[in-house]
């Protein structure tokens, strides 16, 4: 082995040149600080990933597939527009039903929860604080044509 080391003596001296390659001055002054800062940051990210892993996955997906992020943003925007449009649109379908009841009796506005409670005792109508569509005569529960829009009628007592 000594022979080999002698053979490579010049090369080994040449390789010592690499020991003189040094990073920029002051490089190691900040090195450990940067490492510790990154450990702290990754620790926070770790806490975040355990609290909301699905959100982290979503964010990672956005990071690696920017097209997906664009599609997601577009979908959110469309949903927002859709929401605005339908929020401003006046409700039209329940009106005929209300008009029908108004013709047969007093105005709908005059029907108060107290009056409903009083009338339910005599007519069998269940009065609740739920919307009007849930107020159904018990007898007509299985006879309705349309399960989603049932005709509502109120009869006030004498």
């Amino acid at each position: 082995m000594n022979e080999n080391e002698q053979d490579f003596g010049t090369l080994q001296q040449f390789l010592k040149l690499k020991r003189h390659e040094t990073p920029p001055p002051g490089y190691f002054n900040n090195f450990s600080g940067e490492v510790i800062a990154r450990i702290r940051d990754e620790g926070k990210a770790g806490e975040f990933s355990t609290e909301a892993p699905w959100l982290l996955k979503l964010l990672q997906l956005f990071e690696f597939k920017p097209a997906f992020a664009g599609a997601f943003a577009s979908a959110l925007f469309l949903l927002l527009v859709f929401g605005f449009v339908f929020a401003d649109r006046p409700e039209s379908s329940p009106q005929p039903l209300l008009q029908a009841t108004a013709e047969s009796s007093n105005s709908f506005a005059a029907v108060t929860p107290v009056a409903l409670a009083q009338s339910s005792e005599s007519t069998g109508i269940i009065a609740t604080t739920n919307p009007a569509t849930s107020l159904q005569p018990v007898a007509s529960l299985f006879n309705s044509q349309n399960p989603f829009a049932q005709q509502v009628s109120f009869t006030t007592g004498n």
């Binding site: 390789l15 690499k18 990073p23 190691f28």
Partner: protein, 209 residues
């Protein structure tokens, strides 16, 4: 400043109680004490950086890989049982990370070399080498540095690592075997082969013995 040169690092020789102090720092770091880990980073930052730098010949890559190695070591610190020294364990992490990086990088080698320090021209061995032993006496230090790094990059990662650890950083065969998780015979044969390769790659600059 000379990086990671064991033959000349007598000033950095650990004190007699150094292993105990180191183990204490490791235990504190395992419990989440970042100040203790900061001290460990400061102890080994130069040697780890130097190894990675000599393997990549690129300062920016070496910076990223050295930082990543320390971060990975901190994350895996709980699994460190003290079977080897912390230093060897840390070295293994850095070396594996660097080799994986180099395998991915493959043919995209871009050198970003550090400057030679001001002691270079005053080093009698190097002056003698360039003025007497080198056929290319007209070559400047910068040119020699580039040729040497280019030749190193032509070696396979395991061969380059052995040369870097032994001839540049001055580690013993036993230490290298432990770091590379192989036997001493393998280290010796890799070193011999790597030197042969380098010798033939640098014939213009090296006078045959």
């Amino acid at each position: 400043m000379i990086m990671a040169e064991p033959a000349e690092r007598t000033d950095q020789e650990p004190a007699a109680d150094a292993p105990a102090v180191e183990m204490d720092l490791v235990r504190r770091a395992q419990l989440g004490d970042l100040r203790a880990y900061d001290e460990l980073v400061q102890r080994y930052q130069e040697r780890i950086y130097a190894t990675v730098y000599h393997m990549t010949s690129n300062h920016e890559d070496a910076n990223d890989l050295a930082q990543d190695s320390f971060i990975k070591a901190y994350q895996a610190l709980k699994s460190f049982k003290g079977g080897s020294s912390f230093y060897t364990w840390l070295y293994r992490i850095a070396v594996n990370k660097t080799i994986n990086f180099l395998k991915q990088r493959k043919n995209r080698t871009h050198m970003s070399l550090n400057d030679l320090d001001f002691n270079t021209e005053n080093n009698p061995d190097l002056v003698a080498l360039i003025s007497e032993n080198t056929p290319r006496r007209d070559a400047g230090l910068k040119e020699l540095q580039e040729k040497l790094n280019a030749a190193l990059l032509k070696l396979s990662e395991p061969h380059r690592l052995v040369v870097v650890l032994h001839d540049v950083q001055g580690q013993s065969h036993e230490e290298i075997a432990e770091i590379m998780d192989c036997n001493i015979g393998t280290v010796r044969s890799r070193l011999f082969y790597a030197r042969q390769q380098l010798q033939s790659l640098l014939t213009d600059y090296l006078k045959p013995a």
